[in-house]
């Protein structure tokens, strides 16, 4: 059984049971380990990717439902790690252990695409990931900093 999916602009043929969650397709079949397993039940958000630009828990997306969609993972967030969110994350020393952050960044970048000037309430609603280290204060600050940087870029 082989299914064709598009991840970060690259077409892959995947030989896996059609019910296999995208999370495990990415990690174990395509070797893209940036997307993380945390809970498997759409609670923690460590596995967040974007499907057609919308943040989605990849542990809940079966392979069979993914033909024809565009999947973006942390590996495809930017060409060289310079998305304004990635820059802000480094500048503000946001990560602690860092395990959850790929998922947080994918949720936050989806938010900024739709909403370039998110309020705290917008962030609360869109970034529902669990960070056990408790980097939430800096996650919020990082999103605001990236929004500002994006705004400045667009003005130029």
């Amino acid at each position: 059984m082989s299914t064709t999916i598009t991840v970060n602009g690259v077409v892959h043929k995947v030989d896996a049971d059609p019910s296999t969650p995208l999370l495990w397709v990415l990690r174990d079949h395509l070797g893209m380990t940036g997307t993380k397993y945390g809970c498997g039940v759409a609670q923690c958000g460590a596995c967040t990717v974007q499907i057609d630009g919308v943040a989605a828990r990849s542990c809940q997306a079966p392979l069979e439902a993914l033909a024809g969609v565009k999947i973006t993972t942390i590996e495809g967030l930017s060409a060289d790690g310079n998305h304004p969110l990635q820059t802000a994350w480094v500048d503000l020393n946001v990560p602690q252990c860092g395990y959850c952050q790929a998922g947080v960044l994918m949720a936050a970048s989806a938010l900024l695409k739709d909403n370039p000037h998110p309020t705290d309430a917008d962030i609360d609603a869109a970034v529902t990931n669990i960070c056990r280290c408790g980097s939430y204060v800096r996650i919020r600050a990082g999103i605001h900093a990236a929004a500002k940087a994006l705004h400045a870029q667009h003005k130029v």
């Binding site: 495990w24 498997g40 969110l85 020393n93 602690q96 860092g98 280290c133 939430y136």
Partner: protein, 745 residues
């Protein structure tokens, strides 16, 4: 012939002995890997290599669990090495090398937690790394002086450049590294005094691995990928200590990708470790388990879910409910326990004061670490070699467990430490290492990646223990405590939080603390601020109750208790947190502020450990819905080497404390843990994060650089319940708060 091979065994021993004190300080290279060939890094000592392109690589013994320990070790070396910060890289030091080369990183396993655990700033860590950096710097200078045929005193080392001051000639570190690594100094340089530090306590670099994290490139244990690797899904006896009775492999044999089923039998004979381990090996015992191996994890997991398994629950099944456990623990507190500490007439009757007798009982539940990286590890075991790729929190303990479980000669056991997706104490004991090796050794020659599902992690924890406590105090005529008595009961605990407190350290004249260890099957272990996280809740809730009985403001009451305490920074922390929080200013109805203070690891002594005071501002609706609006936290760890790193630990620690108090608590049914995943074990998220303000105004800049990860977890919970009392008049003596009735009016 390079300089290193001339070093005989005696030369090495002398260099190691020069430092002593339980830590090894090799300041010269050891072993064959000392000098690089053309283009390769040159080893200055086991800690430091420098490459021709100036790259400095520091071997770091501390796993990186998110507290920045790896970066801190590199920063400490850089303080003396004077290299440019961007040239610094860090790798995890090899426990195998430490074994083979007679403790080049640590003399033996050291005290509990040892040198290969997660801390980075105590004197035992700072001194050898500062010395290693200073030694390497002087040898670079000497090599440059020899090249220029000038006195070494005329050479300056700064930002990875060596400059001959009188002529302005320069060489980069990388250009002289090969020559410098062979230099043997007549005398080792003394590291500079703290007053001359330029990085430590001044700069606050972010973590070295941040750039990799934000690209998804950091390799955690979960990300290990090896050729021909099998995945294993693991299931241990749902009642801890139970035994596997039977399973039916035929039912899953033909499922896609399935390779085999492997059984872990705790009663199987194992070799005895031929040397001491950092932690008792009994903390890492195997649990009866079954694992399904398959080509991919999802296949292994689906097959495990389909596998018929029968367990013999054993003794633990007699505990029918959480309430039964709690009632038993509360009952134990009514009788004398093992005396842990007596001061003055603490053992005497509680009738000696003129004021009121205050008594209260408290309960805290089992809590799971819930690191977001589930437990996992990868091992390749053959008859004569073990390779283990593991997100360990104590890589030397991991090494010891891998040796014991495999029975392989320790010379041939290699632990490849990965990054760690959260530790919080869960990955210290190495029971996860044991299960990984126990499974992999049944499939010799193939790497096996063993993964605990989230459900398995949650139900197979080494939990923060459930604990009950009864506290009693006799007050004097002014309302201050004359006698304090505390009794605690649970499994796997001690009264550290109280013993570390000022109240047991002399502020209250007569104190006695007793504990009773109950024979409960549920497995426990260290959890961020072991026992302190519970006992700070007991002590600071109770002192608040005493203040109320005395009709004295809770801040003022604590300051009175601390009036004669020889470490003034306790009172300063309280005042700092209180002032910054607006203590005493009026609040709307339904809101309140609460205060608490605690000290992690100071042993109830002045100028020791990390002191933290917190003020929480909460709101409780009449129906009982709780919101924590703000937490102000003041900290005194002694000295601070990276303020932003300390701030990050405090911020995260506050959230950990909030979550522990509001949300966390496992329930037990027929000996099993009920909760399976985050929908039943909720976590604070961005939306519920209070305003958190960390204050450094009470920092003493003392001699010590005490560890900062655990401390903030202590005062947050009691500050919240004390705030609830201030807001509602309702005293809550049990967590998690989400399960308590907070309604009022």
């Amino acid at each position: 012939m390079n300089a290193i091979s001339k070093l005989d065994r005696r030369g090495f021993l002398i260099s190691a002995l020069a430092v002593g004190g339980g830590l090894s300080l090799g300041v010269i290279p050891t072993g064959a890997q000392a000098l690089g060939k053309d283009g390769e890094p040159c080893e200055f000592c086991p800690w430091i290599t420098i490459a021709p392109d100036d790259t400095v690589t520091v071997q770091v013994p501390t796993p990186e669990i998110g507290n920045g320990a790896m970066t801190q070790c590199a920063m400490t070396v850089a303080e003396e090495l004077n290299c440019a910060w961007p040239t610094i890289h860090a790798e995890f030091a090899s426990t195998n090398r430490n074994f083979q080369q007679q403790n080049v990183y640590a003399n033996g396993p050291g005290p509990i937690y040892g040198f290969f655990a997660g801390r980075s700033t105590n004197a035992g860590r700072l001194k050898p790394l500062l010395q290693a950096g200073a030694s390497a710097r002087e040898r670079l200078k000497t090599a440059a002086a020899q090249a220029w045929k000038v006195p070494v005193s005329e050479v300056v080392a700064k930002d990875s450049v060596l400059t001959h001051a009188p002529t302005g000639r320069t060489l980069r570190y990388g250009q002289v590294a090969a020559r410098a690594a062979a230099v043997v100094l007549d005398k080792e340089p003394a590291p500079k005094p703290r007053s001359e530090w330029t990085l430590l306590g001044r700069a606050a670099p972010g973590k070295l691995n941040n750039a990799a994290i934000v690209r998804g490139q950091t390799q955690y244990g979960m990300d290990v990928r090896l050729p021909n690797m099998l995945y294993a899904a693991l299931m241990q006896s749902p009642v801890h200590g139970g035994k596997l009775k039977s399973y039916d492999f035929e039912a899953i044999r033909r499922m896609p990708g399935v390779h085999s089923v492997v059984v872990v039998d705790p009663s199987e004979p194992r070799v005895k470790l031929p040397f001491d381990s950092p932690l008792p090996m009994s903390t890492s015992t195997a649990q009866s388990a079954v694992a399904v191996l398959a080509d991919h994890y999802w296949q292994a997991r689906k097959a495990l879910e389909a596998l018929p398994v029968v367990w013999d629950d054993g003794e633990g099944a007699r505990w029918k409910s959480t309430e039964q456990l709690q009632d038993a623990a509360l009952a134990v507190c009514e009788s004398p326990g093992k005396v842990m500490l007596t001061r003055g007439d603490g053992a005497g009757p509680l009738t000696s004061g003129e004021g009121r007798l205050v008594e209260a009982s408290y309960l805290t539940p089992y809590c799971e670490h819930a690191a977001i990286e589930p437990l996992n590890g990868t091992a390749l075991v053959t008859a004569d070699r073990v390779d283990l790729w593991h997100p360990s929190q104590q890589s030397q303990q991991a090494f010891c467990v891998a040796v014991e479980e495999s029975g392989v000669d320790p010379k041939n056991v290699y632990v490849h430490q990965t990054f760690v997706g959260g530790g919080f104490g869960r990955r210290v004991f190495g029971n996860d290492v044991r299960m990984v090796v126990a499974v992999a050794k049944k499939v010799p020659g193939r790497p096996v990646h063993v993964i605990w599902s989230r459900e398995e992690v949650m139900r197979q924890g080494r939990y923060r223990p459930m604990e009950a406590a009864k506290l009693s105090a006799r007050l004097d005529a002014q309302g201050m405590p004359v006698v304090l008595r505390a009794r605690a009961a649970g499994n796997g605990h001690s009264l550290t939080g109280l013993q570390d407190s000022v109240y047991a350290g002399g502020a209250i004249p007569n104190v006695q603390m007793e504990t009773a260890v109950m024979p409960i099957h549920i497995l426990t272990g260290p959890y961020r601020g072991p026992s302190y996280n519970t006992n700070a809740f007991f002590a600071e809730s109770f002192i608040d109750e005493c203040a109320h009985a005395a009709n004295i403001d809770p801040l003022e009451y604590r300051l009175k208790l601390l009036a004669a305490w020889p470490d003034p920074h306790w009172a300063k922390c309280l005042k700092e947190a209180a002032t910054q929080s607006g203590w005493g200013q009026p609040l709307p109805r339904g809101q309140g502020r609460g205060i608490a203070i605690s000290n992690w690891s100071g042993g109830g002594k002045p100028n020791a450990g990390t002191t933290v005071a917190a003020v929480a501002r909460v709101e409780v609706t009449p129906a009982g819905v709780l919101t924590v609006h703000q937490v102000d936290l003041a900290v005194d760890p002694g000295g601070v080497v990276n303020q932003d790193a300390v701030r990050a630990m405090m911020e995260g620690g506050v959230i950990f404390g909030v979550n522990m108090t509001l949300n966390e608590g496992l329930t037990v049914k027929d000996g099993r843990i009920v909760e399976s995943n985050f929908h039943e074990y909720p976590m604070v998220r961005v939306a519920e994060t209070p305003t958190i303000r960390i204050h450094f105004g009470a920092v003493s800049n003392g001699e010590r650089f005490s560890e900062v990860g655990e401390a903030p977890v202590g005062p947050v919970g009691p500050a919240i319940v004390n705030a609830i009392f201030a807001a509602t008049g309702k005293r809550i003596r049990q967590t998690p708060l989400r399960k308590q009735d907070l309604s009022w009016a």
